[in-house]
Amino acid sequence: MKALILLSSLGVIALLAEIFSVKKLLYPIVLLGLITAFVLNVFDWDATNNIYYKMMQFDNYAVAFTGLIIVVAFLWFLMAEGFFKEESNQTDHFALVLFSLVGAVMMVSYNNMAMLFLGIEILSIPMYILAGSNKTDISSNESAFKYLIMGAFATGFLLFGIALIYGATGSFDLSEIANAVSSGTLSSIFYVGVLLMLIGMAFKVSAAPFHFWAPDVYQGAPTVVTAFMATIVKTAAFAAFLRLFSTAFMGAHDTWTNIVWVMAALTLLVGNITAVFQTSTKRMLAYSSVAHAGYMLLALLAGNSYSNSAILFYAAAYSIGSIATFCIVNIIASAKNGDGIDSFNGLGKTNPMLAIVMTIALLSLAGIPPTAGFFAKYYILTSAFVAGNVGLVLIAIIASLIGVYYYFRIIIAMYFKESATSEVVEVESNHKLLLVFVAILIVVMGLFPDCVIKLL
């Protein structure tokens, strides 16, 4: 909760910085603010309380996810420094990112549909804008536009669902809804509402068949923004999704499990299979992001004691891996004027450091031990197994094999293919630091996953 307030204030400070011309200081202030927010967030641990008329529930679940979001945001800021160098929109960018973080925190801690809805919108609207922040680039425009239209469209369904649920239960409060579900027979419109909300949430987490926006938007948006979407937005969306369905709608799981089953399967297959043919790394990562949503859906579907920590860990592993990959893709793409896989050719020779970090990150995304990604997948599979979804486990296994297929295309390009030029890509020192840190983090998380999963 304190973190939420601090983040909002940071956003406002960012706006004010424009006026008071302290733009130079803004970057350190924000980083410092994030650290503070993290610390404040830690203080909320175990202080479970419903606050503001049960609008929020800042339980450990929320604290954990908030912590994750702040950490990832911190890493993201380190990676995205260049994004804030552009003089004209500097403060805007800061403010928008910080506001979207506020939305993200709301999404992980809501206890009321209004908060969920607002959280989603507060997260999404800055994203729409940031996706288009490269104003003269038509791809960026297209990305923002597609995101906005489809996002708004999906919001319509989400809201329709909320309305129906409200109609059936007379409440927006998750716990009250859960009570209503468990207390007796509800009007059939409730179940329609659940399904419509499911569709809305599925859109936000880019689950097939509501994933179409993701590849296009991810590809068109500036790379750092894509990184933000792939990590923080996805994490928040999943946390929200899980919270909604594991609390309020758990009693009605007969209604949605089959659908989520199919969605998970489709997402896994479509995401992974389509990624195989991509030539643009960014687009490939976009499809892979879709695919990763599929794995997390597995845990969501499982709905057991493992689910929460599984999704937390998966989101963490995936986000950290993505930060690294997107950072490197960004560096390479700006150095070589293109994000095609062939721009990675020979990187193993010219920039071994980048290549190694990229390899570790890709191995993590592909789920190979001893990286974090492996344990994440393992944990997800365990939860799915416990829930008895053996079929999905099989699909997930096949899908992750296909996943290896395309992740390794980059690895092969880096180490096997010859580069056209032998020039060394310049890497800023803070990026180096970030990448090394992230690489170590990936391995450490893979070796000692207990430190994360014990949280939930």
């Binding site: 193993g348 393992y378 296994i397 290896v404 297929y405 092969i412 180490y415 096997f416």
Partner: protein
């Protein structure tokens, strides 16, 4: 403690090696692998020749999931640790005449792989086992990708995905067992997993059996999961091939002994005949294909499939002779195949070809090489008093107890092996020299050293295998006795 040292010493050495540049890299790598061998030797000295698990080290790793860092060495592990630590220095030594780009990375990867291999052999926790199992794949993948031959990207990738696919099934099987561990808390401890597996009925053990068998079958490889292997062996750099065939292959057979048999004895009993059938068919199948090979390296690759098929069949027949034979044969095969691949390497580096037909008469120029080659070849065709025979005899014995027909069919490899090995020996070494072989350079000291060590091992283990069997026999007896109990025999 010594077990932990065995695991992590190569890792540390490998990581440090990354920061070393210059010509000393080879020597440092060799030195550290010899040091590792010394540690293993020390362990061997302190090892009691009984069935207990020794040098155990058990600490919490992922507490919330009941995953422990639990390692220990019993007879079965000891033998494979010895194999690994014995072969790695040899393999490093074989590379002394190769000039690889970026040698520090090359040797670091080899050492890291050694760490993973040792880890696989000493793990007593299902999850830990799996992690090491997969971990072993990464260094070898990069060894093959970075230093391999033509078309390596596609081939090594296929190898990677294929084996990974298999292991994922194993992971599924392990998780399944984990979720059925008795008691309140789930655990990956080997004993708990054994208990979980053995109390299942035939059908469920069958699931476990197939899930895990596929992983091991791909690794070994057993027909029809073998098609990654010839290409990979052919394409990989010699040292990579040696690591793959000499040690990594044993992960599969070891996995069957340590993890498959006790986990699903009923499953093995019930479905094992299909697996044995595949393995035995694979023996003859691969032997036949070996006859048709023109590339010597490929020929050895196929012969390796044949050998390992027999090992698998022996293990799956679940009797003392079979399992013990498998243990001996794993060791022998490791040594022999390293020798054979080194011979290929020696020939290839001197003549730039591996085509059997285009060579000939090398014996005229280099009789010493011919003799060493012949000894290794004889070990490979399992001539008595070479190491290959002891294992093969026990294995055939084991398979025979399972089914006489199978044993007879598997025994065809005795004939076919002689056919293709002698054919290639004749074609490469005998006859008149030609333009390619006329200037076959004499053996370098390091090459001679490796070949002589290999030959010495071949003969020593063939004549006097007792020191090895003594290590492993109590554990094997205990294992088989345990299986008998589990099967209610």
């Amino acid at each position: 403690m010594i077990t932990v040292l065995l695991i992590f010493f190569p890792l540390v050495a490998g990581l440090l090696l990354l920061f070393v540049k210059g010509p000393q890299v080879k020597n440092i790598a060799l030195g550290s692998s010899i040091l590792e061998l010394t540690i293993a030797g020390f362990a061997l000295i302190k090892f009691h020749r009984d069935a207990t698990t020794q040098f155990e080290w058990n600490c919490n790793w992922i507490q919330s999931l009941g995953i422990h860092f639990h390692v220990g060495i019993d007879g079965i592990s000891m033998l494979l640790v010895l194999l690994t630590t014995f072969l790695v220095p040899l393999i490093i030594l074989t590379s002394f005449k190769n000039d690889y780009k970026n040698p520090s990375a090359f040797y670091a990867l080899i050492l890291i792989m050694q760490m993973a291999l040792v880890g696989v052999f000493v793990s007593l926790d299902g999850f830990l086992f799996y992690v090491f199992w997969e971990l072993a794949l990464i260094p070898i993948y990069f060894i093959c990708l970075l230093w391999g031959g033509a078309d390596r990207a596609r081939i090594t990738f296929k190898f990677f995905v294929y084996t990974l696919a298999g292991s994922l099934f194993m992971l599924g099987g392990l998780i399944y067992l984990y979720l059925h561990t008795p008691g309140g808390e789930h655990s990956f401890d080997i004993a708990a997993l054994y208990a979980a597996g053995q109390k299942m009925d035939v059908t469920h053990q069958g699931y476990v059996f197939w899930a895990m068998f596929i992983a091991f079958a791909v690794k070994m490889p057993i027909f029809p999961f073998h098609t990654w292997q010839p290409d990979t062996y052919t394409t990989a750099p010699t040292q990579g091939t040696m690591m793959l065939s000499g040690i990594m292959l044993k992960m599969g057979t070891f996995g069957v002994i340590r993890w498959l048999l006790p986990l699903a004895p009923l499953g093995v009993e019930h479905y094992g005949r299909v697996a044995i059938g595949l393995a035995v068919f694979g023996i003859v199948y691969a032997s036949c294909i070996a006859i048709a090979q023109k590339d010597f390296k490929r020929l050895i690759a196929y012969s390796s499939i044949a050998h390992v098929g027999l090992i698998a069949a022996g293990i799956l027949s679940m009797n003392t002779q079979g399992v013990q034979g498998a243990m001996i044969q794993m060791l022998s095969h490791g040594v022999n195949v390293v020798g054979l691949f080194f011979i290929v390497d020696i020939i290839q580096r001197r003549t730039n070809t591996r085509e059997i037909e285009s060579l000939g008469g090398i014996r005229n120029v280099n009789p010493q090489f011919a003799v060493l080659f012949l000894i290794i070849l004889l070990g490979s065709v399992a001539l008595p008093l070479t190491n290959g025979f002891v294992g093969e005899f026990l294995l055939l014995n084991g398979v025979y107890q399972f089914s006489a027909g199978m044993a007879a069919f598997a025994g065809l490899s005795v004939i076919l092996g002689a056919v293709y090995m002698l054919r290639s020996y004749q074609s490469i070494m005998l006859g008149e020299t030609n333009s390619i072989t006329a200037s076959f350079a004499p053996l370098e000291t390091s090459e001679k050293a490796v070949l002589i060590i290999v030959c010495a091992a071949i003969i020593a283990f063939g004549v006097f295998p007792k020191p090895l069997t003594d290590i492993v026999a109590p554990s094997v007896d205990q294992l088989v006795a345990g299986l008998r109990v589990a099967l209610g025999r």
